[in-house]
Symmetry: C2
Subunit: 223 residues, 2 copies
DNA sequence: AACTGTGAAAGTGTTCACAGCC
DNA sequence: GGCTGTGAACACTTTCACAGTT
């Protein structure tokens, strides 16, 4: 395990499984803050986050040492450390491409600002949608993607286009210099190795649940 | 590795990492079908699915042996085997709870039927929403949840309620006998061990991307 | 010659259990 | 006494490399 800075951003050497759980911890901590709780333990925080206490402690140990033995963690301070580790200090500017049903819902999702994100632009290819307003923004034409990315300083693009257009849009997004993509289109995107893509696919999630549902029935039948 | 049936549902002994990728393979195979391709290789299918060829072959080996050495895989047949393994043979009936922006988008998501799912009911707590129509269904009151689950034979519930209500709704969903939940509310749900929950949280995904974005900047600064 | 299927190796991730500190 | 932080054990996943088959 490489470098470790205390309190400030640490960075390399944080396992990606740990990174994927930090948002859960942060969410739980912010709930505790909202409820006025000032101190917590690995058992309580783990329960709220849906993981085991050992896992939580191990995860935090990759970021540094934030608790007090025999006592627990300061809720506010720990939330700050995790937010720092996630890079939520600086604001991240987002563009959403594809303002259909889902894009609309994503645009109106509240809680971006609170989490350090700012929706800076909405883009669509359809003349019927371009020019309409959503979430306080005027939808621009996707042809202007490169300009919009530069003008707004977009660092993350959310793709909510139809599957058929997703790859073509992704290519342009990458060409425009964006390195972080959140893809809602049901397609595996082909991108250079230095670009991060995270995919969210409702259909896939349902299919995984269907598998477990079936496994359950079969197990029951074998009695 | 335990039991293995060929072509028919196999079941236990399939690693969950493999199960989570089967939907990608199925998606890619259906694209190939649509394009009229009848035979494929592990290299091609892996590329379309966004994984490595060795991983694909290993994954398929848990389900059985479906290819021909020196030749490749029959696209149609393989799609059928995977669909069978995922339990998409029988139709899964879904209820969506929380018909706000996101619930609306989820209700209108096309492609449920094609993937073996049927949206059987929409539920909401708000009097303003109950009684309205969406996706060809009349929104019912969430108080009738238990009745609706029984009446419609719901096996999967999609939760798109505000975070504050998610746990209470989940408790009732579980009490009604549903074992599979897809949770879009930004909350870790507390459920019995025999209930499967999969969570999708846009905020968390963005935070993970933000982390990578920051890691990139820091790496660049260290030169 | 081409491409699958799979043991074995390497790599990651999780859990345990306890030493260390308050 | 209570709770964190962590090496060491264990479990799971991925990748490699090649034997087996058409």
């Amino acid at each position: 395990m490489a470098e470790q800075v205390i309190g400030e951003v640490s960075v390399p050497g944080i396992p990606s499984a740990t990174v994927a759980r930090l948002p859960f911890y942060l969410r739980a901590l912010r709930d505790l803050v909202a409820r006025g709780v000032t101190t917590t333990s690995s058992v309580e925080l783990a329960e709220l986050s849906g993981v085991g206490p050992a896992q939580l402690r191990k995860d935090l140990s990759f970021l540094g040492s934030f608790g007090t033995r025999g006592v627990g963690y300061d809720v506010d301070a720990l939330a700050g450390y995790i937010a720092g580790a996630l890079g939520l200090e600086d604001e991240h500017r987002i563009a959403i491409v594809g303002i259909g049903n889902l894009g609309h819902a994503l645009a109106n999702y509240s809680g971006y600002e609170q989490r350090g994100f700012h929706v800076a632009a909405l883009l669509d290819a359809s003349p019927e949608v371009v020019g309409t307003r959503a979430a306080g923004l005027v939808v621009e034409h996707v042809d202007a993607l490169e300009d919009v990315v530069a003008r707004e300083g977009v660092s993350i693009v959310v793709l909510a286009t139809p599957a058929a257009h997703a790859q073509a849009v992704a290519d342009r997004v990458v060409a425009a210099g964006v390195k972080e993509i959140l893809n809602f289109a049901p397609r595996a995107l082909q991108v250079p190795a230095d670009v991060d893509v995270r995919g969210v696919d409702v259909g896939s999630e349902l299919q995984i649940l269907a598998f477990h549902s079936q496994a359950r029935s079969l197990a029951a039948a074998n009695d």
